[in-house]
Amino acid sequence: MIYKIHLAGVGGQGTIKTSSIIGEAAIKQGFNVVMSEVHGMAQRGGIVNTDIKIGEAKSPLIGKGDANLIIGFEPAETLRSLDRANENTFVITNSARIIPFTVSLGISEYPSIEKIIEFLKNNIKNLFVIDAEKIAKEAGNIMSLNMVLLGAAVAIPQFPLRKDVVVEAMKENLPVKTIETNLKAFEKGFEAVKR
């Protein structure tokens, strides 16, 4: 069994950090893991996608309709990544938008959040919409929104990694002074899905 996770977000949201924690946790739990990252020009406020495969896979990329779980850090980016989903894929999406500057310049348009959610609801059975930005703020720091989404992922049925192992990987991979806030954010994200 290979468990395939796709993460989609915008540069600066902590997508790569989240992916690394998932990868490190997978190794701790005794799995093989491969992952693809984005570096370079695309990081400057552009789209950041990572793919993670837990299990005996060789290539890190996920094909069309082949993801078990999609974690969307930004609603438009969730939609942009949707071709990795089939009708049984679990999708977690942050509902807080990051409006690209092309919209302010008037050269592209951002759809309404209602329209995005409606489309997701109509096409994805296993959908979890979370205002990760709001939850992160409640936890004490908006920068911990990636850990809110990680917490949500761990609560998904069939997610192969144990919660305690993920927490251990978080502690080893996050700056010491941010651990408390991040754990709080993680816990709140977990609860948001469990409920």
């Binding site: 915008v10 990252e37 570096h39 990081q43 400057r44 060789k58 094909g63 310049l105 096409n123």
Partner: protein, 621 residues
């Protein structure tokens, strides 16, 4: 993971490493004494890690001024009987190619590995050239790893091979291998010798014609020995799953093949080449026994496909070769699981159908990478556009650009990148535009790129009397690739203090009379200097000097002082100059039409306060 682990992890540990990080571990396990590079994605992280660990490991590492210098540093180390490692992005090898070609003739003493990180799909490059062809052009062995574990293990193999053959070895990764993270089982770290000795032997090291004629003959002999080794190499593996279809593959592409075989149970025989040039003909012939057709799965050019077609012709084999020439697989862009699965499926007349997937039907906004908030280049571009407008030259100025973050000036509203070829070409092509047109020419080049290859064209401009303005965007770092030091900074690749090379003195020294240094954050002064430069003849150099916003951000974060700005809605007339002309990504228009600054994005640079005609932008309290 702490990067230090790449050095201190003992034998038999499991690390979760990026392909590029694993390359560094490979260097440490091989006892490499000298490494050199010019930063370039997708190879950049190798340098970023070495920068932190080289000193502790006990080797010499440098960020060279360009790839050619980097290759020469490593070639000399290897002639001095030390193991050396030089690495660069694919187009970097174009820069280094002159010396690369000769290195093959001279051969090596200490093992020499040249890593080229190719970029199929051009995630951060101007082209997707396939550098496996360079191995064939120069006549050096080629090694292609498929994952981080292989990156490390194959580097160790490459050093042994290089020393056995007395040849440099070309080591080709692709973005997907360099930027893939996977489990790496560590071996033992080997201590590098600190110094070697160069023994004079001009007949061996000086390719004057009487020597180079002999050297070429020797090179061909060495390649014959190399092919024998490739035929027996443990890097070349056959996986037989039955059937009459063979698949010849290498590097990152082989991952998709092997995954597809295990997922769909395709009955095929796979030959994965890790040591792919010289093409191991005897091994391939053995692999072909009993096959009807062979599909070649390789990224970008039909390189192995050509080798296989030649072998089939030479041996008059009754075998069909499927690949790029007959449309089974594409010749451009990187591969993925779907492309490779479809190719195999077609080749075996299979019936694996595409999995159903969700198709998004809502139009989405484009999200191109942008200059960071607080980026000094934004201020420079704003000022040049204003000066050009004031002088009535709108639409008439040609802006040759160069390789760096500032290439993003190609986007609206700046549109200050009109022509781009390669590193250093901004000033080079500015020479040409100056002599071929009556238009004003303003070339943009970064500080690191200027030292890389901007100096020769500037000398050219003075000597050949070109009329041009060269703007050196000195942000005190090599920003795009992850902020490696440039020669104008007081630090080097060993993390030690280093002499700063003054751009101003350099430019004056080669005879530029008009040299002005400005702080682009001061819009008024910057615009004035641009006006002046645009109205004079000859070569004018403007040095727009301000540290990269990511450097100042780090300092501000450390000191915990971060001011941000806000818009006084009573003063704001919604003229939108801040959006349409300055285009800072922190600004946005709310649903009610009011304009705001996102405090989470605002860098606090304050450039916008000088742009707003109503003085409506104030410090957020």
């Amino acid at each position: 993971m702490n990067v230090k682990k790449i050095l201190v992890a003992g034998e038999g540990e499991k690390l979760f490493l990026l392909g590029n990080e694993s390359a560094v571990r490979g260097i440490f396990e091989s006892g490499v004494s000298v490494a050199s590079t010019y930063p370039g994605t997708p190879s950049s992280e190798i340098g970023n890690v070495l920068w932190k660990l080289a000193k502790e490991y006990g080797m010499y590492f440098e960020f060279s001024t360009n790839e050619k210098v980097a290759l020469e540093v490593s070639a000399a180390a290897s002639a001095s009987n030390l193991r050396s490692f030089v690495f660069m992005k694919h187009v970097g090898l174009n820069v280094a190619s002159d010396s690369f070609m000769s290195t093959a003739y001279l051969g090596v003493n200490g093992g020499m590995v040249i890593l080229t990180a190719d970029d199929p799909s051009m995630y951060s490059s101007q082209n997707e050239q396939d550098n496996r062809i360079y191995a064939r052009l120069a006549g050096v062995p080629l090694i292609e790893p498929a994952n981080p574990q292989e990156v490390k293990d194959f580097i160790k193999y490459a050093y042994e091979l290089s020393e056995k053959l007395h040849l440099p070895v070309l080591f080709r990764t692709t973005t997907r291998v360099s930027h893939m993270r996977g489990v790496v089982n560590t071996g033992r770290v080997a201590q590098p010798p600190k110094k070697g000795i160069f023994k004079k032997a001009p007949e061996k090291y000086v390719p004057v014609p009487q020597n180079s004629r002999r050297m070429h003959k020797e090179l061909i002999e060495k390649l014959k020995s190399a092919e024998k080794i490739a035929n027996e190499s443990s890097l070349n593996e056959i996986y037989d799953f039955g059937g009459k279809l063979g698949i010849l593959t290498s590097g990152g592409a082989s991952n998709y093949v092997l995954d597809a075989v295990s997922e769909f149970g395709f009955k095929v025989r796979v030959l994965k080449l890790g040591f792919s040039y010289p093409f191991p003909e005897s091994l391939v012939l053995k692999f072909l026994e009993g096959l009807d057709r062979v599909l070649v799965v390789e990224e970008v050019e039909p390189v192995m496909e050509n080798d296989l077609l030649a072998l089939v012709g030479k041996k008059k084999l009754n075998l069909e070769v499927l690949g790029k020439y007959n449309g089974f697989l594409p010749r451009i862009y990187e591969y993925n699981p779907d492309i490779v699965k479809d190719g195999i499926n077609k080749a075996i007349y299979g019936k694996v159908s595409q999995k159903s997937f969700v198709k998004n039907s809502i139009p989405l906004p484009s999200r191109p990478p942008v200059l960071c908030p607080g980026c000094p280049h934004r201020a420079t571009y704003f000022s040049v556009k204003k000066a050009v407008k004031k002088l009535g030259l709108e639409g008439q100025v040609i802006y040759p650009s160069d390789i760096g973050c500032y290439t993003l000036g190609v986007q609206p509203p700046y549109e200050t990148a009109d022509f781009l070829l390669s590193m250093g070409a901004s000033i080079g092509t500015a020479n040409g535009f100056a002599h071929s047109t009556d238009q004003k020419v303003v070339a943009f080049i970064g500080d690191s790129t200027f030292f890389h290859s901007g100096l020769p064209p500037l000398v050219n401009a003075i000597h050949n009397k070109a009329n041009l303005v060269a703007v050196i965007l000195d942000n005190r770092t090599t920003a795009m690739t992850g902020r490696q030091p440039s020669p104008s900074e007081p630090i080097n690749g060993m993390g030690e203090d280093a002499p700063e090379i003054s751009i101003e003195n350099t430019v004056k020294g080669i005879g530029v009379e008009y040299v002005k240094t400005v702080d682009p954050y001061n819009l008024y002064n910057t615009e004035k200097v641009f006006e002046e430069a645009l109205t004079r003849n000859g070569v004018s150099v403007i040095i727009a000097k301000h540290p990269c916003a990511l450097i100042t951000d780090e300092k501000k974060r450390k000191r915990n002082v971060w001011i941000t700005f806000t818009i006084n809605q009573e003063k704001c007339t919604r003229c939108k100059v801040c959006i349409t002309d300055l285009a800072c990504p922190a600004f946005f228009v709310a649903n009610d039409g009011t304009i705001h600054i996102d405090p989470l994005i605002c860098d606090g640079c304050g450039v916008c306060t000088q742009v707003c005609p109503e003085h409506a932008i104030e410090v957020r309290k």
